[in-house]
Each structure stands twice: as structure tokens, then as C-alpha cells.
Amino acid sequence: MRRRADPVDLLRRALEMCGEARLAVTGDSMLPTLLPGGTVRVVRVPYEQVREGDVVAVTMDGAVLVHRVAHRQAGRLVTRGDNMPLLDPATDAQAFLGVVPGLPPAPPSVPPPAVVGPVQVHLWLIGGGGIDVPPNWVVRWVSHRGAGVDAAALLAVATGIRAGTSIGISPYGVTAIDDLGPPIGPTHLVVGGAFGGSLPGGNQLLPPALVHRHVRPGLPGEAVGVRDTVAALARVLAPMEAAL
């Protein structure tokens, strides 16, 4: 039986036949660059010509995503919506449809709010244990349920990190750990959890908006264990704390 053509098939054919096509913009992931309700012009270009900063159309999970290229990595594209706190999973040439020309550069990121108070690093470890932590850090362990946390644990984290700057560490963080600046005031590091939406069964991943910033311990999308993540954080932050 022939597979029913889906919108992605039709769009791909239009790009092959006409070299360009229009797509309706839905969602707010590319605000303020793209407004929902309008359309964008997608132009077919060679995959090798795509550069960081280009806005591209790629397929992901059967749908079309129009996001900005944050990195080119080993022949794959790592994208992010201008209004999204986390990177998208990397895509390859098979998923690439075209570029959206004529758009302004990504808007500047908004810095976290200024926090007044003595510098103190708080480490929130989700599901971790038996890990070496700098002696001056305050450590709190959060129980996990599979890939997520339950509602009580999420409430505890959300309440606890309210006073200070909060940083989520996950493979899809926008900033690399090495680019973390010195801690300012109370600084909460949330490690070991995955950020996303709800899971079946009532547990949930950590909401991306839970924290002020998202940092990754390795290459975009690279899974790094909790032990190595904490070691990297200590390596980067300890000298800065000592200098304060």
C-alpha cells in the first residue's frame, strides 16, 4: 500500500520542483524574529552552504521546524528557536529542507536578574549520590522517578532555588560550562535532571523556565554523567569563587 503523503513530503517536492516554498508560521519558538500567523519563504540551498546564524527549515519527528543554526557539528546542524532556552537535538542532511533568507540576527539574550547577597553555590543533585563536591558548596539531593521527578520534588526545587541565580545543566544547554561566568550571590546549579515537558504517569521533566540559564557540560546533545558534570562545574567555578 502506498504511504499517504504528509505535508513534509509535499513541501519537499515543492522545494525540489520550484526551488522555494512558503510555510505558515505557528507557535512562538522564534519570537520576536518570526510571528505566528505569518508565512516564511524557504529556499533550497546546498546543505554545505548553511552557516551558524542562518534560519533553516528541518524535519523533526514528522514535523517541520524553522529554527536558527546555533552550531555546525560533525556534519550535523544544532538549532535553537530564538525564543527557546534549550538547543534542539542535532539533525543531519536528510532532515534539511532549506534556509529562510532575509531575517535579522538573533536578538541578544536577556541576562538573569541581578542578585544581592554573599556568593554561595548550591548544588541540587537529581538522582545522584557518592559524588565529590567542593566542601564549601551546599548540596541537596532530589529523588527522581525514572527520567523525571514527581510533583513534590519539583516543588521543592522550584521553591529552594527561588532566592538567587539558577542554572540548569543538561546536554541541550545553550552555553558551554567553560563559558560560565563567576557566581554572583546565591547560585543554584540543578544537575542530573532532564528538562522538557510532562511524562506519562504524572512524573515530569524539569520545566525549562524553572531556571534562569541553561548550560551544557559537553558538546551540544552530548550526555555527560553527573560525576563528570559536577567535576567540570567545580573546575570552572572554584577558581572564580577563590578570587572573589
Binding site: R2, R4, A5, P7, L10, L11, A21, R22, A24, T39
Partner: protein
């Protein structure tokens, strides 16, 4: 009058007909009757030809039913032309959006 399908309209004919207007970024799926009209229009058939064939296919039994089929066919073809999904053969093409 007869019709042509613009180059910018991409369509597939699987279990159903799905259209994509690449100049407007709009997708549409046609039901069975609409799909039948679309296929015949794409072959260059006139509205009258299409109505006659559909009347036969769907068993229109009297003049009133055949007239109703013809009216529905003309209305749908007009809708497709308005949306830019069909062009009237020999008419100026719609300006690019």
C-alpha cells in the same frame, strides 16, 4: 471553460488527494467528491463535462439532481480558482504573493 493546475500547486493522489500551495504555504485535503472534481479538472475537462460524469457516477436520477450536481461542481471549481489552486485556461495567471 477548462482549467489547469498551476506549477506552484504540489499534489499527491494516494488514498486521498492532498494539495500544497507553495506560494501561500497552505495545505488542503480533498474529500472523495472534491478529489473526483480535481482529477477531472486537471485533465482539462470543462465544468459541464465534470458535472455530467459525476452525475453518472453518483447516479443522479433526474434533471433536478443533475442540475444540483452541476451547481456544486461550478461552486467548487470557483472556490479553487479563488484560492489560486486552479487557473482558468487562457486567463492571465494570478500575481505572485
Amino acid at each position: 471553460m477548462s482549467y489547469i493546475i498551476p506549477d506552484a500547486v504540489i499534489w499527491t493522489d494516494d488514498d486521498e488527494i492532498r494539495l500544497y500551495d507553495s506560494t501561500r504555504g497552505e495545505f488542503e485535503t480533498l474529500n472523495a467528491t472534491a478529489a473526483a472534481i480535481w482529477r477531472l479538472a486537471g485533465e482539462g475537462r470543462t465544468a459541464t463535462d465534470i458535472a455530467t460524469e459525476l452525475s453518472t457516477t453518483f447516479g443522479a436520477q433526474d434533471q433536478a439532481q443533475r442540475h444540483g450536481v452541476e451547481r456544486d461542481v461550478e461552486e467548487f471549481l470557483h472556490h479553487l480558482v479563488d484560492r489560486g489552486l486552479l487557473l482558468v485556461r487562457g486567463a492571465a495567471s494570478a500575481p505572485a504573493s
